[in-house]
Amino acid sequence: MSSDKTGAVMVVGAGIAGIQASLDLAESGYYVYLVERSSAIGGTMPMLDKTFPTNDCSMCILSPKLVDAGRHRNIKVVTLAEVREVAGEAGDFSVTLGVQPRYVDPDKCKSCGECADACPQDVPDAYNQGLSERKAVFKLYAQAFPNAYTVDKENCLDCGACVDACQADAIDHGMEGETLRVQVGSIIMAPGFTAFDPKALEYYGYGRLPNVVTSLEFERILSASGPYAGHLKRPSDGREPQKIAWIQCVGSRNRRIEHGYCSSVCCMYAVKEAVIAKEHSAAGLDTTIFFMDMRTYGKGFEKYYNRARDENGVRFVRSRIYEVRPGAEDAERLLIRYGDEQGVLRYEEFDMVVLSVGMEPAADAVTLARKMGLPLNQYNFLEPAPLSGVATAKPGIYVAGAFAGPRDIPETVTQASAAVGESGLLLAEARGTMVSEREFPPERDVAGEQARIGVFVCNCGINIGSVVNVPEVVEYARKLPNVVLAEGNLYSCSQDSLVAMGEAIAANKLNRVVVASCSPRTHRPLFQETLREANLNPELFEMTNIRDQCSWVHQAEKVKATAKARDLVRMAVAKAALREPVRRVSVPVTKAALVVGGGVAGLTSALTLAGQGYQVHLVEKENSLGGLAMRFSEGLRGEDTGSCLREMIAGVESHPLITVYTGREIAGVAGYVGNVVTTLTDGREIRHGVTVLATGGEAYSPTEYLYGRDGRILTNLELDEKLAELAGAKTFVFIQCVGSREPGRPYCSRVCCSNSVKTALKLKKEDPGRQVFILYRDVRTYGILEELYEEARRSGVIFVRYDVDDKPVVSLEDGRLKVTVTEPVLGDRLVIDADILSLAAAIKPAAANTRLSQLFKVPLNEDGFFLEAHLKLRPVDFASDGVFMAGVAHAPKNLEENIAQAKAAAGRACTILAKDRLESHGVVAVVDPAKCAACLTCVRLCPYNAPRIADYAATIEAVLCQGCGTCAGECPNKAITLQSYNDKTFVASVDGLFTEVS
């Protein structure tokens, strides 16, 4: 291991895993090289329409992260790049990158699209899965970063039309590729996945029958930015389908094509697509999902499935489909012949068939991993080392996302943060050595000054200028009240314009700036920086969009567009005059963490944090550490959990930075992120900056199936403990979903299927003459765990599906333990004389969660597990800053997943602990104590726990406030205002609209 460590990390792949890892790293004090093979960051997520289980718009939730990653000072995004060579060792790798030329200078490109309009060459648009066309000069998608076009040289005619069209002089067909060499301390592999190409399964007709589409194509069809602008159409003739079928497990759970694994996400995305497709259809779309096992095992998934079936009317048919053929009468329709579960053959025709394609590792990622000497599993996934969550065979190289094995977005994001946590253990000593902060000159105090406004109107090449009469708008702006300067720019955002803007601010003593140009989403921070460099507070800025909402939408009506631009500018100027500077508040950070819970998750979080040099206080209510996992004999895949746990406990107990408080609980919590004082039940006070809640779960004690009435009826956990004593037992029965997926506990406990299968396999291995039955509702051995299920079947474990309305019946007759269940394939009654009945009992949330949720003011979901800030993209964060969750406290999960999430919580916590001071977000809500009646409205409403009552009035903690404005809107006495967004400015803006100016 290198002694001189490098405080930089390379992240390979800029999908959601790479982006999350990069943001966490950069916020934790590491410089990041984010290497991406395509021309823009984002990966697969931008292609998705909505995301399960929240039905959030995928792009809407991703876009802020794209902007953050793209603009981050300590993240260098290298697109069109591939890793050529990795040398060196953990702590100090040298990496050679080959970068393809873009042929467009991203600094000059304004992303106006004139080049693409001029380009004569149509190319199938891979972003739209080939359902539409793009040009040979293109931008991957509208919100792409870098926000610049790229020349697709393979398809380029070299005609020069784009060069002539580009007003910004950004296109250079002579650009050459380059080789970059970078030094990094660690590497995070996050290259993502490739969707399975169903052409390999000719029986489904993909590529032959136009109305058979892949699920990714269907995402694009549903998407408003897709080939049909979000209208539900079938490809063959553009007609709206009335009846759609989804076929599951296309390219998954298929040994024949060496894809024996489950792709983990397809069940949920198919249910989601069916639900969303129904929303798109006015005529009441008929949707059918053909599946084998419905694997809705994640947090909130089971409810989504139930709702889709019971409320949305999605039909679920348990049958794997043999083939898709052209319809009997209409060849554009699709005929499916299938056997239902009873073996009755049915024929049905559909207008469209969606193939739920699985994931496979991307070919170039496989090549790279091999080149780096990283061993892959039999399917070429880079599976993490056992019980590590993220480690590979090589120290200093970590893996995150679907390349580690199929997984959904929250697990991908979790693993990304976990890789950051793990990387921090290696590079802690080099933290902060390669990052820099931007220094700005001191701000000029503008208090008491009369507003002096400068207005800059952008032509955006010809994007605005060809429609809106910019000189006329400039001339008009000059006459507006308080305006001392108005200018037009070819591109307001170009470097020379920005320099000129800075000079104009100084020369004219401007104290407010208005830019009329494009979208604040992409350009507001850029102009605000210019203000800061010119000694102005960034909030003295107002932006109005005269492109997206004016010139682009009123191209045919130039006069009216110009009038609208005048109105927009007038409103902005009126508002700008009332803008006030906002001072950022900052507080120091106590560089210590409190970890609540001493199970696997808590231990892992504690070790990950302490290993990076932060003080950790670990509180455990029991008298010893280890939690529920102490009762496991081994991991799902035979890992030696006992020694792993003992090692962890010893590590925690001997760590100089970790203090363990067993036999104690949390009694009180005061303070906020960075500065919390927690009191334990023994009265001890702990000061810490962040908190990790890792309270674990509890085993459900069944009331079903005669549990407790006979010593031969056990729970899986009890069976695991007793295994050694049962050598003589011959017939074992497992019943799944005991206390899970039931009214009152409607969630799936996620681990029980794999757990029963593992134990069953063990029983069969010990004595192949045993009869082992697993009675299940759906076998949910997702991802690579499917291997266990397959091995169990191969070993003779008998799986019998039961219906929730026809559950197994357990009876005790003359000392015989009898289990009766309907065998669904034969339709017979199967009576099993069992020696042992093991119940896969549910995992319950910890009882302590309720009290902790009140103490830390963090929410629980309706099942009693902690509720994260966002189910998709913030899986370990609470909405309140500085509090994180890990392990079963969040939802049931297996040991491997617990460890990954615990590392992720630590990784996320480090983004706070790495800072000496925390700054407020800029715009925050403030209370006028004179008007406040301490009615608690704001305290109740705030999702971030920012307001509290002190001295009979609310105060809002600036570093907690996210500036959402909920409290300001709801305060009955208007005691709260959101800085820069107060009534005054908006009234002024509206007044501005109706003011006649001569």
């Binding site: 399964l201 029986y203 497990c249 759970r253 298929n254 040994r255 024949r256 094509i257 084998m292 348990r318 049958s319 794997r320 489909i321 043999y322 083939e323 053929r325 052209p326 012949r337 299938y338 056997g339 239902d340 579960e341 073996g343 009755v344 053959l345 017939t731 192949p768 003459g769 045993r770 009869q771 039955f773 397959e790 079947r793 191969r794 070993s795 003779g796 008998i798 799986f799 309907t822 065998e823 669904p824 394939v825 034969l826 339709g827 017979d828 009654r829 199967l830 009576v831 099993i832 004389d833 069992a834």
Partner: protein
Amino acid sequence: METIQSSQLNPGFRDRVAGLVKNYDFSQCLACGMCTGGCPYSDIHENNDPRKFLRKINLGMEKEVFEDPFIWYCTMCERCTIECPMQVNIAVVVRSLRGTWDKDKIPGYMQTIAREHIESGNQMNVSQVDYEETLEWIQDELREELGDPDYTIPLDKKGAKYFYGFNARDVKIYANELQTTLKLFYAAGIDYTISTRRWDATNIALFTGQNDDFNAISQPIWEEFVNLGCEQFIVTECGHAFRSMKWGQRTFWKGEMFPIRHILELLLDLVKDGSLKLDPDAVTEVVTYHDPCNTARKEGVWQSPRELIRTFVKNFVDMNPNGRWNYCCGAGGGGMAMPEFNEKRKAKGRRKVDQVCATGAQIVIVPCHNCMDQFNDLNKWYPDTKGKSKNVHMCALMERALIMPEKK
């Protein structure tokens, strides 16, 4: 609803089955239903759902498995599991279980055929005298037809390029068709031979699963091929013979491997290299082509026959589905030789009848003796529909288009 007692299930049964099929792939079954959907006959008559049958095996219902008529109903066409995601092969399982049968209790007259084949060297018990007389008769006929008094059938010719193996029906029932085939060989001028000793390439043990019979039947013809020192083994238009030779060689032949080809592959080569000349306008009727499962799905020969057809047939219409996905004629797996199940065979054939009728074909090329018998039965059984199309072997239809070379 019947009751299955766990105590009656035999957990060791799977090991016995695995011993027979040489793997445990069948136990990977997910009971997903793909085979039920793929089997053309799972809704034609009772006891024909491969999933149910396999389920009994995997549950360990030994007695019920052996009592299940599925074992003999199944045509072993392999359509159900050709793409089974768990790599189960129902036909292999069925054949293996048939192989456990007491030979006296095998249904129909399959075992009689096997016994006679072993004794006589051919499955129809044609005596050597009859065989040689038939060949002589064909030779005489061809001398006349070809106007070549010196024409001789190349018998037992050492070192001939092609060894031609056929079906005893070619001698006993369709001697005129053997004549046609030899005429095509003559026209193409190929170097081939026919053995006077071992010439029947069929093997009924392909369906009875009795491997001792299989070897007793097929080893001699392979040895004959080696003794004559030929280059390629050409098999007649008979799916079962072709499969017996190909699969049997892969499975049981211990000597050096030699190429075994379907006659239609050879004929296509001869047309393509110009040795055989066909009149492209000779056949104007609507023609369709039946893919024998053994030839197409199991041994991959379905493209060359179509390519061949297109050289002399003007109106070719494929059945749907076809090729690798074809439907069995309904008489596979020895179905022709089990008259006690004729009602089932008739019912199964209905699928094929509908398929043929949908093409509107006047002529069906049936390149298989077994399928041909079934097709002819279907014509009788369904005279109003299928009865309207004529069933022919490929060679017979080709003869209509044959342009004889100029005499030198």
